[in-house]
Assembly symmetry: C3
Homo-oligomer: 241 residues x 3
């Protein structure tokens, strides 16, 4: 049985994983879902990428979790890469789940196609606190495209504004790319958040991992809401020895 640590993406917090964790536990696994610093409702959003990473390192160390399968969703992919640099000896395998895999020296924003960079820049210009909220229409159409309106609304209500700074911090990933920790990439075939093709999650971004175990399932970027049981099953496949 495995110990999973699930790292959420932008706008989300650890509560996004509740249904997934229930199923992982029902199958006999342990699972933890910390909230990244600067994320969640009603907290100080003034964080940079390093502060985000450190909060997860602190969580894992304080609970003394070892031999973990560490999963990052979306933005969370950049967190687990840096966490692996810091405490790789506690990690049995990394799972990138529709997640950013940055090249050394890049930021998340660098990996947006031009039209999404423009949209992001517009949202940040309209912001007065350097956070960005995802418009509901984009959430419904591009993020959770496999959900009905009720689920799109109820899941949207769980989101909160995303701090901008971690998206533009350039990450030194030289050490990450020297690590020999096994890696998996879990890809949802209807995920169009990064438009499929030239700028997409897979194979464009996944291939940066070099050798990895490829696991695929139907669904949108937000299957933790639209199909948590199916996602939990695939996390088990992606994470097993």
């Amino acid at each position: 049985m495995s110990t999973f640590v699930l790292i959420h993406g932008s706008w989300h917090d650890g509560s996004a994983w509740i249904a997934v964790i229930n199923h992982l536990e029902a199958k006999g696994h342990q699972a933890f879902a910390p909230t990244i610093a600067g994320h969640g409702k009603g907290v100080d959003k003034n964080v940079n990428h390093h502060r985000c990473t450190q909060s997860i390192v602190d969580y894992i160390v304080s609970k003394d979790l070892t031999d973990i399968v560490l999963l990052g969703h979306s933005f969370g992919g950049t967190i687990i890469a840096k966490v692996a640099e810091a405490i790789g000896d506690r990690i049995r395998r990394l799972i990138f789940f529709d997640a950013f895999v940055l090249n050394d020296g890049e930021s998340i924003r660098d990996n947006f196609p031009p039209h999404l960079q423009a949209l992001l820049d517009e949202l940040i210009r309209e912001s007065n606190d350097r956070t960005v909220m995802l418009p509901f229409e984009i959430w419904q159409e591009a993020f959770i495209n496999d959900a009905d309106l009720d689920l799109a609304k109820s899941s949207y209500a769980q989101l909160s504004p995303e701090p901008y700074q971690p998206w533009i911090d350039k990450l030194d990933l030289k050490r990450f790319y020297s690590l020999s920790i096994p890696k998996s990439y879990l890809y949802c075939t209807e995920d169009n958040v990064l438009p499929q093709g030239e700028w997409g999650w897979h194979p464009h971004m996944s291939s940066r991992l070099g050798q990895f175990r490829f696991v695929q399932m139907p669904g949108s970027h937000e299957v933790m809401f639209s199909n948590p049981v199916g996602l939990a099953e695939k996390i088990i496949v992606a994470g097993r020895d």
Copy 2:
């Protein structure tokens, strides 16, 4: 419950949708499937693209259909784009189903890869009335590759020659690209009519829509024959609010 208007592709007529409509109606929706001018058996095939579009506009207006989900399959994608320019206020959402999304100023033929342009030019040279019939072998192998021989034959018997002119008319689509009507792209993962990759339906052509809801299902270009119930289910997902 929704009102669907389903626009067929080349060689087809409105009867292609019968099994799909039966299932949509069983689920409580309304659905209409007009035949485009110059299409179907025993009719005058001397039409251009504008005449095709106008026949669908006339159909929708004469029935006074409003708040419709307008779906175009294959060639039908070029029809719904122009219908949306004409009567966009009657349209709740557009669904492009393995459909052409042309750039402004292009024709359908412009979007064929070179080897299909050559095949088409050969077929039109052999024609004495500027219509093109699809050879059965291509139908069976490339269009309805998920069907057995009996279904390939019975569905082929429903086809009729396609007028050539609408394929080479260059379309002014400036207004279409300024419309704010929500759009979906429904893609069948075994559709190889436009060869997958550089010239394919998705993401090559779908991405021209800008923001859209992406919906996917297994099957060939002709799932209205090979899997009409599955297609109807996905049309509901693609078309819902």
Copy 3:
């Protein structure tokens, strides 16, 4: 009912198909799975590509098999192309199953992406008999990524070292590309042995066939072990008239 001849890939021998053949026979078909010369355990591995091809030609002729559906998996794709040149009149259809389709004049090695060429060159430098064994870690992660550890181990135990020479022989395929035998390409959507995208099986390599029937299923490069019944069902679809 069809007569299938199933040609295995590198490191495999004919025994890889036992479970698939059982299911094909249960469905009323005949199926044969010869072992390519220089393949299997305890045999002389000093072969070139021509010797490999000739062994399959000899098998088919000696059994006087006619009207066959000839399937090649992976490396086996290069074998069936050359067998079709030699005895095309015995072949009803070719199925390329996650298989190499070489351009005229190329070798298999020419179709590896640079990082796999480098890996291969390293493995061959370490070899003292011009054969290459696949490391278990690569087998488990990249070849049979849909299997659990037990199945990864038991299937790995069936493998044997692969002769290197057939991978670097340049193949004259002019005649193959002039044949009018119908062709299918069967693709597994989680097959990442050739990394998906620029160097991948589909559509990169499949498209070289020109017109072909496209059939797809979930699974890894090694579904003959991880899902033999599902594979047999798709072989029937790919091979039917």
